[in-house]
Amino acid sequence: MQKIFPDTLGFRLPLMVSLVLASLIAIYGYHGTNEETDRALTRAKNQAQTLADNIATASQLLMLDDISKLKEFIASNTAHPDISEIQIYNVKGKLLVNSPSTAIKQDITGKSRSVIVNKKNNIVIWEPVKRKGLIGWIKLDYNIGKLTGVNDAFWKLDVFDSFIIIFVVALACMVALRKPLNAIQTITEFISSMDKHKGMKVSLDFKYAELRELSNALKQMSERLYTQDKTIKSTMFELEMQTYALDQHCIVTISNIDGEIVYSNDKFCDISGYTQEELMDNDHKLVNSGYHSKEFFKDMWETIRKGRVWRGEIRNRRKNGSFYWVDTTIVPVVDKAGNILRYVSIRTDISNRKTYEDQLSRLAEFPEKSPNLIVSADIERGLIYTNPAMKRYMNELTNMGEFPDRLLPENFKEIVSECINDKKVRSNYEVTIAGHSWSWSFSPLAEQDIVHGFGTDITDRQNFERELRKKNDDLEILRDNLEVNVKERTFELEKVNNDLIRADRAKYEFLATVSHELRTPLTSIKSFSEILKDDLETIELETQRKYLSIIDKESDRLERLISDILDLQKMDESEAIWRDKDINAIDEVQSAVESFYGAYKDKGVGLRTQWDVNEVIIKIDPDKFKQVIINLLSNALKFTNEGEVVVGVNVENVVDIVDRGDGGNIQVWVKDTGIGIQQDSTNKIFERFIQLDSTSTRKYGGSGLGLSISKDIIEHYNGSIFVKSEPGRGTTFFVNLPQHDYEADKRREAG
């Protein structure tokens, strides 16, 4: 439609005007024709009514009984050219008269009197027939076909004229409207072009494009205005709220260019402890704490006087003298010309923050100042923080040509990833490098994949421990040594103790033996003396002599025993007197043997000597030398019951245990065929006070001191005495003596 009929006002308006004009013409024409028709219709109606009345009257008269008369009457009336149909019904609905007979029978139930005009063709009238009540109905159909024919004629005449008029008028309108409409369009385009960039789409469905454009533009404008208005309002509101919030949150003061307070909010009063009145027209110096330098405030004033915003943290003093910290922003309010009008100070109480900051800064100083090694690490990057101590040691290592990594435990990376994975603390990783020992511990940081490592210098501790360990080791060694020493000493002491015990026991045995040996001759002496004294008269002279002889012998025995004991004592205490001189050893041995011939003969034991030389000179105390030989002969006699004892002297082929050199050896030996000595006892027999078997020794008498004394004498001359024995076969005692070195004597004398 729009394509066929342009929707511009220039086209539509003329069209509308033409249409309206045409309509007016049509309505006027129609209206005039209708009035004619209505009048004709009213006339026809009246005629039909009248006819119906007439027929009703006739029917009333005829009581509807005389149908033939009725038909007749109707026949005469239906001759009227406009009557098309007459029907008469009795009250029961029976069609009495039907003209023409082709007319359709109607149902009369509930019928009322009516006149129905069917505009195009006919008028239908129903007329009741009454005579003392309803007796029947008359239907009359009146034809009005002529009336409509008048209207049709009119239309044919009028439409053609109207079209011509419309066309002319429309054309005139279009010509007349063209200029103003173009102007409107231009303006509209201009307005809308102003906001095109906003892309605002307006879809007001005006029929006219100009108006639509215009309205769109206007709408856009109004919307823009609305939005701006809203923005301004909300900005205003927000500003109000912000100002309120600012007032609630911040400490706000406004001062004039001289710094005098012209406005302060309640917060300022609250924090400073001053009232509004006290603050008003006063200077901010009122709250100066004296903490900041003059330069600090000088800088502040210089900044704000230049119209720049100054920001800083200031410590202020309350009225009561206590301090508080504020984060201060001072904004100079400047007019267009650049003149400063006011200074607005906005402050926030940061006292708590300052406290925390102090604490934090102290905390933050910890790793920075710590002499311990502190590192942070994660899996991806490895080390992400090293404290100065760590850096220092790492540098030292680098300078030494070492890898700085060696400050950390070898498996540092694994430790870090394990720590991060299981969030567990690990400790006691020891690292020793460049003379320092470190003990590392690692702790994961909760919620972060970072591990902190702490390395403590344990060098001193380790040194201390090492020293301690060393000392401990030393102590252990000492203890071990001590133990060994103690053991050795104990062993020695035990040995000494055993020796002492043995010596003590030997001494006891010796004393008992001495006692026994002393008592035995003493008993004889005492007994025979007593007998002689008491019974001298009754005893024969011969017996008396015998008894006296016994007393004499036993006295000798006693004397010898005492002498032995004294000798031993002297040698023990080095008090023996040695009267050395050159003697012929053969002579001395011979002399000793001779002194024993009697004793041997008495016991029936043989005694002989055996040597090849007649003279063997040795330098020795002759009495001591002889004592040794006598001891050996006495000993041999004691333990030999049969056989013989042979005494020999060798100068060559000396059998010795120790070769003493120094001019060779002289050997004297005494060989018996006695009971012999067990091999393990051959050394024991020379020990002092020791006797092999007390009981058996008693049997053979003697003090048991002879061998011991002999050994002492021989050893005095650097000789040796030893024994070879076969139990049951016999014993041989050997005495080896070094031959005196006369050449040495001569040299000494010459020297």
């Binding site: 008992a512 026994h516 040996e517 008592r519 008993t523 004889s524 005492k526 007994s527 036993e554 009981t695």
Partner: protein, 124 residues
């Protein structure tokens, strides 16, 4: 009946002294010079008294004493142990072996004679 005495002594001089004392007391006495001989003679003779030297060859006085005291035949022999020993242990051993008396050398023959006389009286 004359009391009998056995003398067990290896030292000839002491034996002579003891014999002298026995003679003076008018005892019937016998002599043995080693332990075994003493034991043999004591069993054979069963004397009233036995003067027994503690240290004797072959068998010491204590063993002889113990043997005699443990034998009912000889347990009634009055045994006097005579010794030159000064050791207490010897006396203790002798007492344990059952010796009746213990005489230490040197002794006085007169005193011994007196004591033997007393014993003989007691036995009788």
């Amino acid at each position: 009946m004359t009391p009998t005495l056995l003398i067990g002594e290896d030292e000839p001089h002491l034996e002579e002294i003891l014999c002298y004392v026995a003679k003076k007391l008018g005892l019937k006495y016998s002599v043995a010079r080693d332990g075994e001989a003493v034991l043999e003679k004591a069993r054979e003779l069963v004397p009233d008294l036995l003067l027994l030297d503690l240290y004797m060859p072959k068998m010491n006085g204590i063993d002889v004493c113990r043997a005699l005291k443990s034998d009912p035949e000889t347990s009634n022999i009055y045994i006097i142990m005579v010794t030159a020993s000064a050791k207490k242990v010897d006396e203790d051993d002798a007492r344990l072996a059952g010796t009746n008396e213990f005489i230490t050398k040197p002794f006085s023959p007169t005193q011994l004679q007196k004591r033997l006389n007393e014993i003989i009286s007691e036995i009788k």
